[in-house]
Assembly symmetry: C2
Amino acid sequence: MIDKLIEKIEKTHAPIVVGLDPMMSYIPGHIQQKAFAEYGETLEGAAEAIWQFNKEIVDNTFDLIPAVKPQIAMYEQFGIPGLQAFKKTVDYCHEKGLVVIGDIKRGDIGSTSAAYAAGHIGTVKVGSKTYMPFSEDFVTVNPYLGTDGVKPFVDVCREEKKGLFILVKTSNPSSGEFQDRLIDGRPLYELVGEKVAEWGADCMGERYSYIGAVVGATYPEMGKVLRKIMPKSFILVPGYGAQGGKGADLAHFFNEDGLGAIVNSSRGIIAAYKQEEYAKFGEEHFAEASRAAVEAMQKDIESALANRN
Amino acid sequence: MIDKLIEKIEKTHAPIVVGLDPMMSYIPGHIQQKAFAEYGETLEGAAEAIWQFNKEIVDNTFDLIPAVKPQIAMYEQFGIPGLQAFKKTVDYCHEKGLVVIGDIKRGDIGSTSAAYAAGHIGTVKVGSKTYMPFSEDFVTVNPYLGTDGVKPFVDVCREEKKGLFILVKTSNPSSGEFQDRLIDGRPLYELVGEKVAEWGADCMGERYSYIGAVVGATYPEMGKVLRKIMPKSFILVPGYGAQGGKGADLAHFFNEDGLGAIVNSSRGIIAAYKQEEYAKFGEEHFAEASRAAVEAMQKDIESALANRN
């Protein structure tokens, strides 16, 4: 799957992933009203609004981008109907040829991680039959439990040719509270980064490993160091745009080959119509605003890569 | 909710939580066959088998125990139908008066953690209506992202009188890989434990905080230290039984008042009929074997507490 991701990045010239993290406040009134008219002000109504919102954004951006990253929490908060909208979104993005990164941040003891891995990127057996319940292409994983909590995900990746992005240095303001603490003079995130490289070593695609890392755009200097520690790992970079990361900061996350990173933007794209810059599209044409925001992001990153030292 | 949990522990004399972590291999053949006859060898069939298995165990143990802890991964692996069985289990346990600890180990950046908290222990708004999608009483939370990833859960706990158990030192063999690393001479798990005490300080029930911690039974010496670092936090102790933790090891997790800890057993109870000791019950009467295993566990812990130094 890492090979497919790279192929699509090279074809689109866009190391970009659109974060499908729909908050109700992002969804234009006309979509909400239509969904509520059909399903009432229910969890089903909320799920329908999310799905219609996603569909229109995907329809307007799929040819420009290699991948999407639905954040499962935004669906899970609406219970079972919300998770049905998640699944529907994953399936629809696959139909459109997109790589799907499930932002699930799971991680547990071995047997439990194995269950998450089976459900999200692998298969489960029921009697004599086999199913792929959520069937994302990549998932994000939390490393706090150490190797035996991550290994079951890695094993499924090897079998199914799927991939992971393991949390190394997250984009949020207090990520340093534990992740930056020094251990024998080096921050914890570097030790986690070394483990990512180790876990990924026997799980290689053509040029990069199936096992990648998450490093926030908000910490470019740390990205520079981590880039060297995990040379064969793709880095998923959240925090661009709304969280404060800028194009110029991103160059350090890429390798000399121009690959090795994929930058996520969620709010900055899916709620672009709420920004002054894209207000001209109006709420009705929110998905065209998203398309324009993707094009601007693509140019920003391309020029950052062209101008790097 | 911590007050209700304590009240129920005192009434049952059992600081015990039954882990409802059904693997298909635990579920007796007759339950699977009946479910598959009705729903086919489908995800719905697997979910029905899980639900019937859980129901029989709950019916046979609910009067002996204060709480259950369904591990959501075991449901999520069967996709949407699996999660429907999770929700059905939560609701049924509530009907039976049990406290429900959702073992979800979620944790993300602020806005995303807020969505998980709303969906699992809080409420979501849809138009003018309000819903409680999963409505567990407690959930487990991963601290790797630091304060701003945990705070949204704490805020919901305060509003809704719900509770958390935050991963501090997990029960699995490789938990030490990151959690035991020394920072200024002290292991990371101690720093996390201090934060748990801090997060819980302004979120107090009558005797204990709403904010507790997870510390594995497999690490009793560390439990002793953490008990002192977080005197007002309840400790959820996994790893008893099948993972190797013994009653005598558990005394250190409790305070002088005989409270402060609740011990989980999953496989040791729900699959008790597979152990030699309980084989006499037979597969048909698996839930009676579970009841006998709860009774034995209760005695083991009671005697460990009575004989502690």
